[in-house]
């Protein structure tokens, strides 16, 4: 049986369904001497904002049992420098690039996409909706379905026809399914889920939270079951592809996301200890599919989900 690992997402086809997650692979060029990222389905860049941002003061990262907390604060070089200094390198190395974007207000996403559209070397945009909306008192964009639908529709209008629009959702809400459905109505080509889980560490000696902002984003192996449950919920709410993210450290974790309803995955925190891990998954995926008699990712999808091959082909 021949295995077809291509990931079709709106107008864009990726060679396979394995990506690196935003914030865990820099601008996609830091490991160029070390890991061949052109073999990946793609890389998702560090989140880019219009202006450069210095990010948060120390401490920024704490390792905990089975996970880590981060409070980097969207440090990045800004869109202009990204387009001028990072994008050409990604293009030169034929790396399928998904650009993660954050904005301060609803219209800024469109402005950034319009600017990106003047350049080549990227295949999709991933809206990071877990950033504060300055105009709305700093509340995250990604919390209200109406707002999500409006932002996604605006962004979609700015998108070139041959690129894909991904929307990354936070798990720190009552119903991620309602937000995913809103993103689909707005015109998203895919849902990325999940972003980090809000968490906290306490410094008992000081009797204060470790991080100046009190809370931080929790990632790593500990959040895998949370991510699987959220992907499962999203899979009941939308028919567009889901890119599963959260705690992946092994091939079994990758396959678990496919069963839970994901069409692709992003490897994140595990890359810090094993930069070659995503590439290893790409290499091993075809072999594993062949061994298990699977032809495509959708063959793994749970029979209890809508869109299962057995329930839709009949």
């Amino acid at each position: 049986m021949s295995v077809d690992l291509r990931f079709q997402c709106g107008p864009v086809e990726f060679a396979n369904p394995v990506f690196t997650a935003s914030g865990t692979w820099g601008y996609g060029i830091e490991y160029l001497d070390f890991v061949d990222a052109s073999c990946l389905g793609g890389i998702v860049t560090k989140t880019i904002t219009v202006e450069p941002r210095p990010g948060n003061p120390q401490p920024r990262v704490r390792e905990l049992r089975h996970g880590m907390l981060n409070s980097i604060g969207l440090e990045n070089v800004g869109l202009e420098a990204f387009v001028a200094t990072k994008l050409p390198v990604l293009r030169e190395h034929s790396i399928a690039t998904v650009v993660s974007l954050a904005a301060r207000d609803e219209s800024e996403f469109s402005t950034m996409i319009a600017e990106l559209s003047r350049h080549d070397g990227w295949k999709a945009v991933e809206l990071n909706l877990s950033c504060p909306n300055v105009a709305r008192g700093g509340l995250d964009f990604g919390r209200e379905p109406e707002q999500v639908e409006r932002i996604v529709a605006l962004a979609r209008r700015a998108m070139p026809d041959d690129r894909a629009l991904w929307v990354k959702l936070t798990p720190n809400v009552t119903s991620i399914g309602a937000l995913a459905a809103a993103a689909e109505r707005g015109g998203a080509h895919a849902i990325s889920a999940i972003n980090t889980v809000v968490g906290m560490e306490i410094d008992l000696a000081r009797r204060e939270p470790v991080f100046p902002r009190a809370t931080a984003g929790y990632s790593g192996p500990a959040i895998l079951p949370i991510a699987l449950a959220k992907v499962w919920e999203v899979a009941h709410a939308v028919s567009i592809p889901i890119v599963g993210i959260g705690g992946i450290g092994s091939m079994d974790d990758v396959l678990s996301f496919f069963v839970a309803g994901a069409a692709a995955v992003q490897v994140g925190t595990s890359l810090f200890a094993r930069p070659a891990l995503a590439g290893d998954f790409v290499r091993d995926l075809e072999r594993r599919f062949e061994a298990e008699g699977l032809a495509k990712v959708a063959d793994l999808r749970s029979s209890r989900l809508p869109g299962h091959p057995a329930t839709t082909t009949g």
Binding site: G26, G55, Q58, R60, V61, E63, G67, A273, R274
Partner: protein
């Protein structure tokens, strides 16, 4: 795998020596693509990926003949696990990483090296390299008690003679007090000296204030919590002296000219 001078590989412990209280030197068999310079570090992961999300940054004591030596002092559960390893155990090592001390800066003038705790590691290599080039550096080491002194490293050869300070429990060969007093005395004698330091942050802050007051050039080797060691996670940043930008300790450091960064707490922004 080995590319561009950085090697990531499984490595086996080939020798283990206890050098002080809760402090060991472990030697690992590993073939690095390039030689190691003083200040450079390794990211070391115990290999148990479910229990340890991140690798640990450890300064490199020595690399020769396919053997990499690291000094490990128990500070948390990760370092405790590494320190407890015995011959035959394996880890995953990513090395050599980061910048190093520029030897030429320390030659032809008095060079004072101020080390505290595990900060002895990069300065030990620096002192050895300087002596190999015919220079006579003045290494000073401070610890809390005599039991915290890694005596096997602190002999006259290959990196000494060391001036040794302890906060309590002085003996004939040890002076009681803070290592910074040794620095002040050395600067009294050699006002034109260049200083290198590595150790606990409060100690390095004190060293920086003394050097600033005396107008002595200072190179610091920083220790910071790291995620990746490759400039990717942006965990280990310090503020740039000039602009709003931040610099990564893992790529642009760990060795900095102290004037290139905002090192002292009173210089740092509370920005976000």
């Amino acid at each position: 795998m080995t590319h561009g001078g950085r090697t990531m590989s499984e490595a086996r412990v080939v020798a283990r020596e206890e050098v002080a209280r809760e402090t060991v030197v472990l030697r690992y068999g590993i073939d690095l693509e390039r030689p190691v310079d003083p200040g450079q570090f390794a990211m070391v992961h115990p290999g148990d990926d479910d229990r340890y999300v991140l690798p640990r940054p450890l300064s490199i004591l020595d690399y020769e003949g396919g053997e990499l030596s690291l000094l490990i002092k128990v500070a948390g559960r990760g370092s405790a696990e590494l320190a407890a390893q015995s011959v035959g155990d394996t880890v995953r090592i990513f090395a050599p990483l980061g910048t190093s001390f520029e030897l030429d800066e320390f030659i032809g003038r008095p060079a004072i090296l101020v080390a505290g705790g595990v900060g002895v590691v990069p300065l030990h290599m620096l002192a050895r390299r300087l002596k190999a080039r015919g220079s006579s550096p003045l290494p000073i080491f401070g610890a809390r008690t005599p039991e915290d002194l890694p005596m096997p490293l602190l002999g006259a050869e290959p990196a000494g003679p060391w001036q040794l300070w302890v906060e309590s429990g002085a003996r004939d060969d040890l002076r009681e007090g803070l290592v910074t007093r040794g620095l002040e005395e050395a600067l009294d004698e050699h006002p034109d000296a260049i200083v290198a330091t590595c150790g606990p942050t409060p100690m390095m802050h004190a060293v920086a204030r003394i050097c600033r007051g005396r107008g002595a050039p200072l190179r610091v080797c920083l220790e910071e919590q790291m995620g990746c060691g490759a400039g990717v996670c942006r965990a280990c940043v310090v503020d740039d002296a000039k602009g709003p930008t931040r610099r990564t300790v893992c790529l642009e450091g760990p060795v900095f000219d102290v004037d290139a960064i905002r090192f002292l707490p009173e210089e740092q922004e509370v920005a976000s």
